[in-house]
Symmetry: C2
């Protein structure tokens, strides 16, 4: 069974690099990866903040948040 | 061809969690993952610092460093 992994980003260069390196690199037999551009999908901001995302890029997997490097504070996104 | 990915950690809980989530989750057809415990392998500290690792846990892939969350500053490791 695959686990849902949501990659939140905002189009910044740090985000795009992390997306290319990690979001595409996770084992697809284990993870169902969804990529959410918070700059374009502002309706998803509340859900990201509720999950604990403080900056982008970040993965939310289950209950856990993984901030990868630092592109932008989520407050700068919306 | 696989790309080398080195996961540096120091045994902290944040490190272990990131290791379980990411180090084992990368697509093995794309990445050759090496796991280095800097607390036990102090001889690898210089190489990690030279690669740009500022805190653990972190991945070094090619020329790039990806700090995942924050377990400990590398200066606290050695």
């Amino acid at each position: 069974m695959t686990e849902k992994a949501i990659f939140y980003h905002a189009g910044c260069s740090v985000c795009v690099d992390a997306e290319q390196r990690f979001a595409g690199a996770l084992d697809k037999s284990r993870f169902d990866v969804e990529i959410v551009h918070l700059g374009e999908q502002k309706g998803r901001l509340a859900e990201a903040k509720a999950a604990g995302v403080r900056s982008v890029p970040a993965f939310v997997i289950g209950e856990d948040v993984y901030h990868i490097n630092h592109g932008a504070d989520i407050s700068a996104v919306g």
